[in-house]
Amino acid sequence: MFGPVVIISASTMAGLGLLFAGLLGFAHTKLKVEEDPEVTEIEDILPGLDCGACGYPGCHQLAKGVAEGEAPPDSCVPGGEEVAENIADLLGLEVSSEPGRMKLAVVHCGAGNEEKKRVGQYEGVESCRTAELTTGGNMKCEYGCLGYGDCARACPFDAIEMVNGLPKIDPDACTACGECVETCPRDIIVIEELDLEGDFVKVACNSKDEGSAVREKCDVGCIACGLCEQVGPEEVFSVEGNLSRMNYSEYGEDADFDMAIDKCPTGCIVLFPSPEEASETD
């Protein structure tokens, strides 16, 4: 007695299934979007993080950009040299960045918790952006690190740790993606290209105030005295707008920074760990 019912329902379902399968098959062939196989291949090489550091919304869009020649093969920041080389090989292109150098986020402030001169006490949302945008920050120095750790929270690779009120960047984990640069309301972090063999040195100050004002506001700030220009390696230090800055492309492994570090009256020229040293200390 189930016979007819079973047959009817089974054949209806099977018929419908066949019909839809047919429609799908038709749609697949007729309405297919042609995708450049190159895009898929490049996307396979990319790390697939969709971090957006390249300026494209995600890895797929970057792959398209590279395939169309809009973006250079070394656009992927977290992927580094390896990915860049693989993509360049695939497309038969040359990688533009030099070997033996690395990009790294460098923090240009050296005022730890003890050195920061606070004005009053900040209550409210624990965020540098909020503090800066709503109360102008609560430090005497208008340029220094506020220390509420927005950069550490923004870092997609956990490369930043807040130590004593300052971001500490792990050179192994940092991919120079620039998220922290974007986030920092005071533009303290800058992406620099360093020579892996040379010294990892920075001017740990961001203050554009005049020397006398800096002395009043911070004990470890750059007072733009210009000593580093004279005693440091040639052409590396330059004082502009009341602040000493380093030209990282101007020195190699032989450059000697001892004098500059030693002579800086406020001690704001400092060494920081290279990837090698960082892994040694771990």
Partner: protein, 360 residues
């Protein structure tokens, strides 16, 4: 202390005016500011706050529900209190476990869920079932969404629906007849006079209406908290006057139930009960006052609150009249919880629609 302060203030003004000592003024002022000046801050105004803060907010809800909880002991004996205690302990453990894993502070919202949940259950629910229900409510109703403030559904109702669907016999087929007179339930642990149905169930089966007086004072079988309409109303009025809940949701909910059932009872007298009976029977008042007004799962804007309340009323009466369930408050509130953010979104579009993106 005062003399020292004055001395330092004098030194400071002296050095400030003296050309040779001017530059040490800063140092002295800094020392002074650390020791004496007001512990001032660079935060943002305003510096005044309303008296309602979250602890008082939650405490006020517990206070408002306390008369109904006491009444449940009066009607059903000390076992009712045991259910509340079990709910607090089991739910508390679930809550604390989650906050520990998440490394967050424990929020006060749980105090409310913990007492509201057992009051929505039939008085003879086994204690272990109460524990299971509140754990499910806290975890699936709240914590999986991200904790207090992020849940879509009312956690107490999630727990209740879980119990009614998984243990239908224990949670909806047997009801106890409440005790009255003298000390009633305060003298004994539990009640064992069993009946088969609540007034709504009786109406659904036979079309007989329970006396309104009993409904109002609470002499009817039902869930723990919903027995006495009087006490539930009193709690609601207290919360509205204390600005704990917004009056719009209960008023629009109850109002739409009244209007819709007045119309319905005229059109389909056998299925739709008359309006006053609808208002007083079952969990409607309890749900409208304590559940539908839960701030997290109800809409935020005034306009959306009206819409929300009206939809709740229509749905509740429809479920009561035309579905297999005699009671529809729980399901309608849970269903409308899903729409609450949507209503808010609609109000936002309505409010800002014409002037969207003013620049560019």
């Amino acid at each position: 202390m005062n003399r020292l302060e004055r001395l330092m203030s004098d030194i400071s003004s002296y050095t400030e005016d003296n050309p040779y000592l001017q530059h040490i003024t800063e140092v002295i002022d800094t020392v002074r500011s650390i020791v004496f000046e007001p512990g001032v801050s660079a935060d943002k105004s305003p510096f005044l706050r309303d008296y309602i803060e979250i602890k008082r907010y939650m405490f006020a809800v517990v206070l408002a529900v306390a008369p109904a909880a006491l009444a449940s002991i009066y009607f059903y004996g000390w076992r009712a209190l045991a259910m509340i205690v079990v709910s607090y302990v089991a739910g508390g453990i679930a809550e604390v476990t989650f906050t520990l894993i998440r490394k967050e502070e424990i929020t006060e919202g749980f105090l409310v869920t913990g007492i509201l949940f057992p009051l929505t259950l039939p008085p003879n629910t086994p204690l272990w079932m109460v524990a299971v229900g509140i754990i499910v409510g806290v975890i699936l109703g709240k914590e999986v969404f991200g904790g207090t403030g992020y849940n879509i559904f009312n956690p107490a109702l999630v727990g209740r629906v879980f119990l009614t669907t998984t243990f239908p016999v224990a949670t909806s087929s047997e009801w106890l007849i409440p005790m009255t007179g003298g000390w009633a339930g305060f003298k004994q642990f539990s009640v064992d006079t069993v009946t088969s149905a609540t007034p709504l169930g009786v109406f659904a089966n036979s079309g007989t209406l329970a006396p309104l007086r009993d409904l109002f004072f609470g002499n009817i079988p039902g869930c723990l908290g919903e027995s006495s309409a009087l006490l539930v109303l009193a709690g609601g009025i207290f919360m509205i006057l204390a600005r704990i809940i917004d009056w719009r949701v209960p008023v629009s909910y109850l109002g739409s139930v009244f209007l819709y059932s007045a119309l319905g009872t005229y059109l389909w007298p056998n299925q739709v009960a008359p309006p006053v009976f609808q208002l007083l029977a079952g969990g409607l008042l309890f749900g409208a006052i304590y559940m539908a007004t839960d701030p997290v799962s109800s809409p935020t804007t005034k306009e959306a609150k009206w819409v929300y309340g009206v939809f709740l009323g229509v749905m509740t009466v429809s479920i009561r009249a035309f579905s297999g369930y005699p009671e529809g408050v729980t399901y309608s509130i849970l269903l409308m919880n899903m729409f609450a953010p949507l209503f808010d979104e609609m109000v936002m579009t309505f409010r800002y629609g014409p002037i969207q993106k003013p620049y560019k």
